[in-house]
Subunit: 101 residues, 2 copies
Amino acid sequence: MSDLAAALDIVGARWALLIVEQLLDGPQRYGDLQRNLGMGTNMLATRLRELEAAGVLYRLPLRHNTRAYALTPRGLALRATIDALGRWGENGSEHEASDEP
Amino acid sequence: MSDLAAALDIVGARWALLIVEQLLDGPQRYGDLQRNLGMGTNMLATRLRELEAAGVLYRLPLRHNTRAYALTPRGLALRATIDALGRWGENGSEHEASDEP
DNA sequence: AATCACACTTCCAAAATGGAAGTGCGGTGT
DNA sequence: ACACCGCACTTCCATTTTGGAAGTGTGATT
């Protein structure tokens, strides 16, 4: 399995990189993530569990039954990838059907 | 929609980035891609259609009924992202691993 | 005691994925 | 000429993933 395939196994799932992108701005709570991303709560819970198991993020306990999610060093290391993909996505409005590359 | 979300809309689908990674080594034919990637032929056909529509790759006609798939400039621009993700994936076996070299 | 915010879980329908087999076309061998 | 082959797909169907909506449990607040 190539390095790329190994990486995609972890952050290739839908919403995974968007969650990490949010957390690059600092730790956030479950409800905040859900509102900021507009994704269903079941998917969010599943992804957070997977990303925690993969060592990308961890649960940061706050008061009583509330907690925040924060990136581990391994999660922060995704900044380069996310920046690169984001820059690539910037130029997405320049597509037109042409027969020559 | 953020730049990252726009990018993921195109290359976030399963296999998409792996296909692009293959084509970074040069144009390949359908059968080669299938063998090199080990993916089902129906998915490959679907992804190639989507990536062509998105301007990431194009069909390069060869003799008779054969053709190769090659990256457009927009597809080649994914090299930075793929390299970054690949480098991130390299360090995936450090969960309970030994000491460093 | 009743209500509320928060962090989920459960249930079910819809969409994506994957394996296997089939299709069409042009070239090759006999 | 005619059977056969490789290539590039398409079709069919089972399995997995995703998504929306509603429900659960816990501790604080009124």
